[in-house]
């Protein structure tokens, strides 16, 4: 496990920038290309890189499976709840207009929150799927075949 020194160092250097770029894509999606889906995938790819270099067990110490499991549901919950807020303010479901002091601001807040929900779910699901595949393969090799 002491080999791949170059890969380890490069990965350690790259991962913070990947995470930062994912956040940029997430929160800058209003102005440039990007948004929740893309940001979620990029965010998850940082964890995939970590898992590829350091192994699945180490990755599960960084992001426990329970965190991912909660994240998967939480994102959709954020989205759905954002839709419910306007209901209490006298507007149809998912019409964000009353969420700010004037309609465009409300729309902006709504879009922001919805995209955040999408990002949380997508990144959790992507990381989860990869960890499931990778974890299973490794374990099977070790104690069965």
């Amino acid at each position: 496990m002491t080999h791949h020194l170059v890969l380890r160092v490069v990965a350690k250097l790259l991962i913070p920038f990947i995470l930062l770029f994912a956040l940029y894509v997430q929160f800058h999606g209003d102005f440039g290309p990007g948004g929740g889906f893309q940001a979620g995938v990029i965010f998850a790819s940082a964890f995939v890189l970590y898992a590829l270099i350091y192994g699945v067990d180490k990755t599960l110490q960084v992001v426990p499976e329970d965190v991912l499991r909660v994240g998967i549901g939480l994102g959709v919950l954020i989205y759905g709840m954002t839709g419910i807020v306007p209901l209490f303010l006298g507007a149809p479901y998912l019409d964000y207009s009353p969420m700010g002091h004037e309609a465009p601001h409300g729309q902006e807040h709504g879009i922001f929150s919805v995209e955040f929900g999408v990002g949380v779910t997508v990144s959790s699901v992507m990381a989860m799927i990869f960890l499931q595949f990778a974890g299973r393969g490794g374990k099977d090799d070790e104690d069965e075949t």
Binding site: F31, S45, L94, Q107, I111, E115, V118, V125, I129
Partner: protein, 172 residues
Amino acid sequence: MAGTIYMIVRLHGLFAVVMLGGIYSLMAASMFVVLDAVDVAFTEAAVGAGISTVLMLGALALVKSEEKVASRQVLLPLLTALIAGAALIYGTLDMPHYGDPNAPIHLHVAPVYLADSEVKTMVPNVVTSVLASYRGYDTLGETTVILTAGVGVMLILGGNRRRRRKTGKGGE
């Protein structure tokens, strides 16, 4: 791109096929950039060329990396594909030319979105405002699809690991 597809069909080593799939996605992404669909290109590059290639490799670790050579007859599938392809191409003959300003898709709701989006939502990227506000229900549905996919994978692949950990064979 056609060359990549031909190689994918011909090759039997699945590792090379996965790599070619990634290359194909990357080329599709550059094609979307040429067509000015930057958001789609972004998604294609991140999901198609990035994550799904890695997931395919993860799946390859679980199965054999050589394709089984099927000895079925190939004439009927070929004929079906040719007829379906010909029908699709015949269908495109009636479609408006690419970039035609009078195409129906550019005359229905698109002008309203383009004109109003920035005023009404304060979001300069029209793709984002259409996706999250005008078409909020659709995106909620898409997010739920991803949730369902994640739950499905967890149910199919996750149970095994749990059981093994319980019997004290956690790996290390």
